[in-house]
């Protein structure tokens, strides 16, 4: 890409990001909805929020949960990555796709799965109660929330740590083994420290995700009224009777204020990452570290994590979709029913919703990857102020909790005249998804791009190819596998995406995730579980696809 084109792409992206974010920031300085004529500039929203003890309670809880979950997710994710990528752990090829599952299930649904299994009268709780006479945990407490949030964010760390480990030469580990270090020691003193930048990067990401946690606290924090920033937004509306956009905007501004230093931190970490580069363009074949007798404790650890984080809640959820009732004193066999699924068939927009979801995930996901690739190429091998600005921009949409992002994007489509005709089409939902997942998708694609040695592209230039031809003929084909991998990850992400689309839905553009949210809101738990089961089945299909693709590619 040449310079004007690069700048054009970055400016376009900046506009797309800044329109909704800027709107929210502007809204925070008003005393009413920005679209109402009698609204004036005011700092009253800031005064209200900063004077509200609930805000500080929510902020404190969010910080605590973010911190706790980072402490849990990072070591676990890093160890898991080491075990699966660098060792001869039995069955690792099968375990790997399973690890990502928590990322792909809507957190509201997953949280509900936890209620069915680990709640006070959950299936596992009752079983344990039969043994011990009491349930030794309480699901609706802050520590539980922290642990579950931690466990379900292991995949994020895993994703970054494993890609770091994959590009690490085996020689460093072999050198350590030959000096007599055991596998655990190798992991802790050699492999993981070498990918420290990736791990720290993911730690910062998880910490940040902790601040915008929504689904888990919505469900698990409900009975005890545990507030976090995202659920505080809801409370604000009810407390004042009508939605107060300016107050919500202030909370978003607060989250942005937390996010910006974190981006700075990430950038700094990535800069120092260059010091560690043991990572060469042509990685030699990776020889797994043999872990011998350690394999069984390792498999047990992974199995336990999978059981608690994935298998049990998902089974609980699926089970719930087949019974009329559950809990203490209920015979599950006697409650068996297919009614919820029949009810689902009755759902007027269901088929359309499923079709839309699959379409959005498959075609929309591919289009998003194309956008992410374009933006990445615009910044590719270009060290300039523009790219620095871009790093900060991409994270901004993520700083808005999903519902607010959805509302802000809805406003953009509503009030920007040229966009208005697109509002009631799938395109607007696609734009919203693409924007909200910008940071994530950008990172996926840039991961693939970083694997391409610069000289491969320079060789193209010297041989006579324009920058555009280099991108088309060399860079893109070279990262094809990485792009397909990114597409699969985006595919499953879009499959479970919710909240963002709520405001953009109109008849004909329903997607499953948003149906789930609206059903959850109206309390149709039966239908929610049945729909989630369908959703999980679809995601499972996606995962299967991913695994077979990976195997194909490895083979």
């Amino acid at each position: 890409m040449n310079r004007p084109l690069r700048i054009a792409v970055i400016v376009a992206m900046a506009l797309a990001v800044l329109a909704p974010v800027g709107l929210v920031a502007y809204q925070s300085f008003l005393d009413g909805p920005f679209f109402q004529p009698q609204t004036t500039f005011s700092l009253s929203a800031y005064e209200f929020v900063l004077d509200d003890e609930d805000f500080f309670e929510a902020l404190g809880n969010s910080a605590m949960i973010a911190f706790g979950m980072t402490l849990i997710a990072v070591p676990l994710g890093a160890i898991l990555a080491f075990l699966l990528v660098r060792t001869d752990l039995p069955g690792r090829r099968w375990i790997e796709p399973l690890i990502l599952v928590p990322m792909f299930i809507s957190s509201v649904v997953l949280a509900f799965g936890f209620v069915v299994t680990f709640g006070p009268v959950g299936l596992v709780s009752l079983w344990v109660k039969g043994w011990l006479g009491e349930v030794p945990w309480y699901l609706y407490s802050k520590p539980s929330l922290m642990v579950i949030a931690g466990l379900t964010h292991v995949p994020h760390v895993f994703l970054y740590a494993s890609s770091g480990l994959r590009s690490l030469g085996s020689d460093v580990e072999e050198a350590a083994r030959s000096t007599g270090a055991g596998p655990l020691r190798v992991a802790l003193t050699v492999s993981l420290p070498m990918i420290m930048p990736s791990i720290l990067y993911s730690a910062v990401l998880v910490f940040f995700l902790g601040f915008e946690l929504f689904g888990l606290p919505l469900v698990l924090g409900d009975p005890e009224g545990i507030l976090v920033l995202a659920t505080y937004l809801y409370k604000l509306t009810v407390k004042l009777g009508t939605p107060s956009y300016q107050l919500m905007a202030v909370v978003v501004v607060a989250i942005v204020c937390i996010a910006l230093p974190l981006v700075w931190l990430q950038r700094t970490l990535l800069k120092t990452a260059n010091r560690y580069v043991a990572v060469k363009g042509k990685a030699s074949a990776v020889r797994p570290v043999s872990i011998g007798a350690w394999r069984w404790p390792a498999v047990t650890l992974i199995g336990l994590w999978l059981l608690v984080t994935v298998v049990l809640p998902v089974s609980g959820l699926v089970l719930r979709s087949f019974v009329t009732s559950w809990g203490e004193g209920v015979s599950l066999a006697g409650s068996f029913t297919l009614h919820h699924f029949k009810e689902l068939l009755n759902y007027p927009n269901l088929v359309r919703g499923i079709v839309n979801t699959v379409l959005m995930a498959a075609v929309g996901g591919a289009a998003s990857v194309a956008v992410y690739t374009l933006v990445n190429l615009a910044a590719h091998r270009w060290n300039s102020g523009w790219t620095r600005v871009m790093d900060y921009l991409v994270l901004l949409p993520r700083a808005m909790p999903g519902l607010i992002a959805g509302l802000a994007i809805f406003w953009v489509f509503l009030f920007v005249a040229p966009l208005a005709p697109l509002r009631q089409t799938l395109l607007s939902i696609w734009a919203a998804y693409t924007l909200v997942w910008l940071a994530y998708g950008m990172r996926l694609v840039s991961g693939a791009l970083l694997q391409v040695g610069p000289e491969l592209e320079e060789a193209g230039r010297v041989v006579g190819a324009s920058p555009w031809r280099v991108s088309r003929d060399l860079t893109l084909p070279l990262i094809k596998v990485g792009l397909i991998g990114s597409w699969l990850l985006i595919f499953v992400t879009y499959m479970r995406e919710y909240s963002t689309a709520v405001y953009l839905l109109s008849p004909g553009t329903e997607v499953i995730g948003s149906l789930l949210v609206s059903l959850w809101g109206t309390g149709a738990v039966d239908t929610v579980t049945a729909l989630s089961t369908v959703n999980i089945a679809l995601i499972g299909l996606g995962l299967l696809l991913m695994t077979s693709f990976r195997k194909h590619h490895h083979g």
């Binding site: 709640g119 009224g225 009732s325 203490e328 007027p348």
Partner: protein
């Protein structure tokens, strides 16, 4: 029954016979609606629950297509005022259980009046100046788990509930669930209605607080947890949902308190900016018609019509409907609202 009904309907239409209940809506409105060809509805009622109603309408007026959007009450409100501000709304009918938010929109002048021919058949409290219509009458009840609460202990009045909790505090420790008025708009509405109906409500709240009552944001979650036995009693539950759940879950119990039973109504209004005002009027009439009400009743949503046999267990003599009118806006005043919430919190903490 319902399948039978619809096949009769279909047969009627096939034969080209004049629809039986067509005398309701003015013929000119019907033909204008058919020219408009569609009606867009924003509703806070689950699409699956409204399915029968919508299909019934479309069967009767095949030339009017229904675009039914279900959203949460807050989303509904946000979307409506945003679209109104952007000039020209995209909805023809607003239908929501958030009575206060609906009333606020009507009060702010977003609604257009329409004298429905069905207004004679609905109670006065369900019609405000022909602008806002209450479509349903749904009691706010106690739900309980029959496996856990012995028949003898089932509270019949609000005082009973307070007494039960006071006497058996330990047995019902953390076993009661209700809306959190701080986090649920409808919960706020119901508890403030209780306050108006009964001076003893504060004592009940204190009893709730003492027994470690859990506060929730959604009725679905509460019902789920009452059904599972995690909780035993739900206070201020929406009767229609409990009723619907009872159909498949034999252990779900329901009591409409005999001292007084708050009855809420889902409010519908036609926005001034409606693009299909005639189709909207037609749909409103249909919702209020005996046929439309029947469809809703099939999903346990109580009819508002005075001429329809009310579910005696659900709507007892003690019914205390929430009147549709500006009184609903009393708590839109921030100071008053925050003060109530403070009082509620203090009562929950036993102060």
């Amino acid at each position: 029954m319902k399948r039978h009904l619809s096949s009769v309907l279909a047969a009627t239409l096939l034969l080209g016979a004049a629809p039986v209940w067509a005398q309701g809506t003015d013929a000119s409105i019907v033909s204008a609606a058919e020219r408009e060809g569609s009606v867009t509805i924003y509703a806070a009622l689950d699409a699956s629950e409204a399915l029968e109603l919508v299909r019934g309408f479309e069967a009767r007026y095949p030339k009017v297509k229904v675009d039914y959007n279900d959203l949460s009450t807050t989303e509904l409100y946000n979307r409506f005022i945003s679209e109104a501000a952007a000039g020209g709304g995209s909805t023809d009918l607003m239908f929501s259980s958030a009575m206060d938010l609906q009333m606020k929109l009507v009060n702010d002048g977003y609604a257009q009046p329409y004298a429905s021919p069905e207004r004679a058949n609905i109670p006065a409290w369900a019609n405000w100046k022909d602008q806002a219509y209450g479509i349903t009458a749904e009691p706010i009840v106690f739900a309980y788990n029959k496996r856990i609460v012995p028949e003898a202990e089932v509270p019949k009045t609000h005082a009973d509930l307070a007494k039960l909790l006071a006497e058996k505090t330990d047995a019902y420790k953390a076993k009661v669930a209700t809306y959190d008025p701080e986090r649920s708009g409808v919960g706020f509405l119901y508890i403030t209605q209780d306050m108006q109906a009964d001076k003893g409500t504060m004592d009940l709240i204190k009893a709730l607080g003492k027994s470690g009552t859990k506060l929730y944001t959604s009725s679905g979650t509460m019902l789920e947890r009452i059904a599972s036995g995690e909780h035993a009693i739900g206070y201020n539950m929406i009767g229609s949902y409990v009723r619907e759940r009872q159909k498949r879950d034999p252990s779900m119990g329901l009591v409409a308190p005999s001292d007084y039973t708050v009855v809420m109504s889902r409010i519908a209004f036609i926005p001034k900016a409606a693009k299909h005002p005639n189709a909207s009027k037609l749909f409103l009439d249909y919702m209020l018609s005996a046929e439309g009400q029947k469809h809703l009743a099939n999903r346990s949503i109580g009819p508002v019509r005075t001429d329809m046999a009310a579910d005696a267990e659900l709507v007892p003599a003690s019914a205390r409907p929430i009147a549709i009118g500006p009184e609903l806006l009393a708590y839109m005043d921030q100071t008053k609202r925050l003060k109530f919430l403070k009082d509620f919190q203090r009562a929950m903490q036993g102060k």
